[in-house]
Symmetry: C2
Subunit: 121 residues, 2 copies
C-alpha cells in the first residue's frame, strides 16, 4: 500500500524540502518527468502517513509539505513584499514541549510564523 513514490520525494528534497503539491507537480513537468497530479497528491499523503514529511498551510490555504528530517525552522514573513527569512525557534520547541506535557499530549508538532513589515516596506 506504500504509494510513497520516490520521484516525488526526491523532487521535494530538490525543492529545498519545502513545497506545495502543485509546485512539485509543475517542477516535475518542467523537468520532463511524466507524472499525474493525482499521483503527486497520493504520494504526498502517503509520505505524510509514513511520517516522512509534515504538512503545514500557507496563508492562502495551500498545503505545503516539508521533509521531517529537515532542520526545523520557522519563518518571518513580510506582509508587504512577501520576503521570507528563516529563523531559529529553539524557544518555541521548548515551549511546545512544555505545554504538551502539561496537558497530557504526546506525539506533538507545532507551527509558528511571524509576520510583519520588513525594513524596506
Amino acid at each position: 500500500m506504500s504509494r510513497s513514490n520516490p520521484r516525488v520525494l526526491s523532487t521535494l528534497e530538490r525543492a529545498g524540502g519545502f513545497a506545495s503539491a502543485q509546485e512539485i507537480y509543475r517542477l516535475m513537468q518542467r523537468e520532463g518527468e511524466s507524472i499525474g497530479l493525482t499521483t503527486v497528491y497520493r504520494a504526498l499523503q502517503s509520505l505524510v502517513n509514513d511520517k516522512i514529511v509534515d504538512v503545514l498551510r500557507r496563508d492562502d490555504g495551500e498545503a505545503i509539505y516539508r521533509l521531517c528530517g529537515e532542520a526545523h525552522h520557522h519563518h518571518l514573513v513580510c506582509k508587504g513584499c512577501g520576503d521570507t527569512v528563516e529563523i531559529e525557534g529553539g524557544a518555541i520547541e521548548k515551549w511546545a514541549k512544555m505545554m504538551a506535557e502539561e496537558h497530557g499530549f504526546r506525539d506533538v508538532g507545532h507551527t509558528a510564523e511571524i509576520f510583519g513589515l520588513c525594513a524596506k516596506c
Copy 2:
C-alpha cells in the same frame, strides 16, 4: 467603502470571537438573519483590512477569523479527536518580538499552534 457589516462582527463576537466564514453564515441563518454568504465574506475581508480581526487557517485549510482585541492565546489541538485547549504564549510573544527586531521588522504579529494526540486518543 467600509463594508464592515456590524451584524457580521457581532455574530463573530457571539461565536466566541473565533469562527469561519461559513460558520458565521450558518449561525446568522439559524438566527433568522437575512444575509448572503458573499456579504459575510466581504464583511470579514473588510474587518481584516481594518485590523479589527485576524485570519488564521485551520488544518483543513478553512480560514478562521478572530477578534484582534481578544486576549491573545494559542491552541493545543488533538489530531485524533479535534479537542482544543487554549494556552498562554508568553514565551512566544517575546520570541516573536526579538526575532522581528533582530531582522528590522515592525508591526509584527504571529501564529503558533501545537498539535498532537491528547491523553484519550
